[in-house]
Amino acid sequence: MMLSAAALAHRELLKFWRDKARVAGFAAAPLLFWLVVSAGFNDFARFYSGSIALALMFSAVFSNMTLIDDRKEGFLAGVLVTPAPRAGIVLGKVVGAAALAWLQSLVFLLFLPLAGLKPGFFGVLACLGILAVIALLFTLVGFLCAWRMPSTQAFHGVVNMLLMPMWMLSGSLFRFGEAHPWMKTAMALNPMTYGISLLNESLGMEGVFSTLLSLSVLAVWTTGLFGIALFWVGRSDHATA
């Protein structure tokens, strides 16, 4: 299983390296957003976590767009007729794509001094770990969307409809404590809220939920989505060739 997963993940990274232009934009837009909004509010720390999360979510989900091409162009069918374990296929594709998204989000860490945040060495380390978990979670979201989507255009539409509300209700824009009660319920259901809470905590700000609760919620979501992905890939009737 690990062999197949490693081969697929390696392929993602190789392709990324050869097709750099594909992803250059993903970190740029959230960076611009962060700079403008932070300058406007004259508070560079407040929107920092939310902006990294924005960059990470979009690059994680969109790095699965290659799955649609893989399916259309037949690469996926070529993999599915080999004895590669289905778990290895999902794992390889997801880990590869998540690693790319994670690497792209690291650009933000260069701006830590500008944000006025001083998380220290272990804070940064924790932040890296949390970013990796969020990347994995959203790569799975993207994987599930891409698996069924007929075209990249449809994928764009659906994903935007899903990601924007998830981001807006995550505590990136406004604080959990100040929100209307029904808004709080919506936010509590959103896994991203827990990701933002953890990120804030690791960067030396205040987290809304306890570390343990946040980590558990993220773990349950990630495992659950991985299970669904595995089930779908197992019923491989959907792959064309």
């Binding site: 081969a7 190789l14 162009e73 690469f75 070529g78 007729v81 080999t82 004895p83 590669a84 060739a241």
Partner: protein
């Protein structure tokens, strides 16, 4: 028995793609699947390659039930699809290395095997080129290399020469026949090129998900008695009716041409022309071809479609 397909049926909604289809195959055999578009060829190959599960009936490869033990079947088959499955942004070698890993090969063994297969198919010198920059013929060869990496006992080829020029097509068939000689690989291939079908040991003719004929190319051609006379007339329908009332021979109208099976065509032709005074535009005859068998077997089908 290498492959056993027993009473397999498969439908997509209301559309029946395969209807109670059976076939058997041994080692070293090359079996061709012939049939018009939508005849069920591709569905059958999807079932054989474990991409789809049969809804009804059983597919067994090397004694393994494809529905219950797909992994065991996948380890024993190599599949070349109609479409390209190699990643265009990777080189031939990178593609093959990845594919070998999917088959559980690794380390030195994997590298050696990839080199060996590339050598066999004459693509070793091009191994560092990206797949998108290769010609159609080379891409197909790389596809076969991919399908052969794990030394499969059965190769499944779905219209493998689509888009190839005649020279590349000949090369492809040389490689396939060489493989059968060297490794006794069984090969099942779908095609709509009669020239390719001639190279198969036996052929299965499919139409609307049902087998309409089966046999060696010679046997199939022998189902047409004698030769085939082709006659073009001013009013084909009227001419056909007139001929049918006068002659006791197999006749049908296919694409506006009257098609007559004649045991001795050179004697038949003058009589046919005499029977239709002033009506005949052209007439000729040829030895039966697989194309004739195909047209004969599927003509009822096509008549139904054109109505």
């Amino acid at each position: 028995m290498l492959l056993a397909v027993e009473n397999v049926s498969h439908r997509y909604g209301d559309l029946i793609a395969l209807n109670s289809f059976s076939m058997h195959m041994n080692r070293r055999e090359i079996v061709g699947l012939l049939g018009p578009n939508g005849s069920g060829k591709s569905t059958l190959l999807r079932l054989l390659s474990t991409i789809s599960k049969p809804q009804c009936g059983k597919v067994e490869v090397c004694g393994f039930d494809a529905a219950k033990h797909p992994q065991a079947v996948r380890a024993r088959i190599g599949v070349v699809f109609q479409t390209q499955t190699l990643d265009k942004l990777l080189t031939i070698e990178e593609n093959l290395l990845a594919c070998g890993a999917f088959h559980g090969l690794s380390g030195r063994g994997l590298i050696d095997r990839v080199r060996q297969v590339m050598g066999q198919l004459g693509i070793a010198e091009r191994r560092h080129e990206l797949c998108k920059s290769l010609s159609g013929g080379l891409q197909r060869r790389a596809e076969i290399a991919r399908a052969l990496l794990h030394e499969p006992q059965m190769l499944i080829l779905d219209e493998p020469t689509t888009g190839l020029d005649p020279v590349a097509r000949d090369d492809f068939w040389l490689a396939i026949e060489g493989l059968r000689e060297r490794r006794s690989t069984a090969i099942v291939v779908s095609t709509h090129l009669f020239e390719e079908a001639e190279k198969c040991d036996s052929l299965i003719l499919l139409s609307s998900g049902v087998r309409v004929a089966e046999g060696t190319p010679e046997e199939l051609k022998a189902t047409i008695g004698g030769q085939v006379v082709e006659l073009r007339a001013r009013d084909p329908q009227a001419a056909l009716e007139s001929l049918q009332s006068q002659f006791d021979a197999q006749m049908r109208l296919i694409d506006g041409v009257i098609w007559v099976e004649a045991e001795q065509a050179h004697r038949m032709i003058p009589r046919l022309v005499d029977a239709l005074p002033g009506e005949v535009l052209s007439i000729g005859f040829h030895q039966p071809t697989l194309g004739d068998v195909f047209r004969k077997m599927t003509s009822r089908e096509r008549a139904a479609v054109s109505v």
